[in-house]
Amino acid sequence: MSLPQSLRTSVTPPELELIASQQLIEIIPLIAMEKTAFISGAFGPLRPPLKAQIPLWMAINLKLKKKCHIVAPEWLSIEFLQSRLDEELSEPGFSQLPFRYAEVSKVLLDVAADDIQDTDKVRSLLKDLKEARQAKSREGLDQLNRGELSLSNLCSMEINEIRPFFVHAMGILTHLHRDPSAGDDQLE
C-alpha cells in the first residue's frame, strides 16, 4: 500500500525527531569547513574555535564523529527546567516550553550528554515535567466537547501522544450531536 497502516492516523516519534532536527543549534566546531550551500540554506563557514549555527541533524552528525561540541540551548538547564516545573505544579495551565523540547532534549541527551551540565538532574527534571504535563492533559479530557478544545503551550510530542484518543473522543461527541439536529429530537 502507498502508506503503511501505522502511518495513517498520526506521525511517528521518529518523524517528529526528523522535523525537530531541522532546527538550528549552536556548536563549537573542531574542524574547518567553507561556507556550503545546502537545500535548507547556506551554512558555515566553520572556523574553530568560533561558534557557528547549523541545523541540529548536522550538529549531531559532526558530534558523533567528534568534530564539534554542541552548545546546549539555554532552556536545557537545571535552572530553567526547575522554574518551569515549579510553574507546572502551581499553575493550572501548561507552562511555556519550546514546541519541540521533547525531541530536541532527547536527541541531545542521547548524543551530546558530555556537552550538557548535570545530565542526571536534567533528565530527572525533564521526566517530572513530562509526567506533570501528562497528568494535566488527561484532566483536560473533561473539557472535551463537540466544539473545540484549546491546548495552548502543549508541545508537539505531547500532542502526538494524546492524538488518537482525543480525536476519536471528539469525533464521537460530534457525531452524537449531529444526529438530533438532523430531525430526531428524542435524543436530547
Binding site: L7, Q22, I39, S83, P98, S152, I159, V167, M170, T174
Partner: protein
Amino acid sequence: MASASARVAPIVETQEEDTPLSQLCRYWLNERHAPDILPAQEELLSSLLDHIRRQSEAVQLLRGEPSASEEEHIRIMLVQMEVERVKFIVRSYVRTRLFKIEKFARFIMTDATIQTRITTAERAHASRHAHLTDRHFHNSVLQSLPETQSHLDDAPVFVPPMITKPDENRPVFVHALNDCAPIRFHEDLTLEMKRGHISLMPFSFIQSLLAKGDVELI
C-alpha cells in the same frame, strides 16, 4: 527563583525563515493530518526536486576528486545526507497523497471541486484506480448479483453511502501561524485564534484558514 525565571522566561522560538524545504515540511504535515486531500504543491515540489538533483550532481562531481581532504569528505557527506533527508520528506508527502487518492478514487471521479486540488498525474491515477477496482469487483462478485444490487454507488437510506468520502468532521490539532479571523462553531461559541494558539477542532472549521496559510496542522 523569581529572578531566575524572569531571566530565562522569554522563549525565543527561533522562527526559521520560510525556505522551500520548511514550506514542504509544513505541507507534508498538513497533508498527513488532514482528512481531505489538500491542494497540490506542484511548483514547490518540482523546484525542490530540481534542487535535489543539482546537489546530487555536485556531490558526484566532488567525489571524483581524488585529492579531497578529510574536511572536504565531511562536507560532501553532509550534503549527501541532507539530500537523503529531503528525499524522505518528498517521498512521504507524495505517498500520503497517493494513499488518499486511492482511498477516495471513486469520489474524486464524481466530484469536480476535489479534482481542482490534484495534479493531472494524480487524477489519471485516481481514474485508473477507480476503473480497475470497479472491474475487479464486477468480475469477482457483482456480475452474479441481481441488477438492483450490482452497483457500487448506491446511497441507501439509513446506511452510509457506498462511496468513501473524506470525513470533514474529523478533529485535527491546529496551530495558528497568524492572528486568525473568528471561527463560529455554533450559536454560543466563537473563537478568535491569536498567533501561536493551539487547538483541537473539527477539520471543516479551519479548512479555509488552512488554505490561506494562517494555520498549520500539527
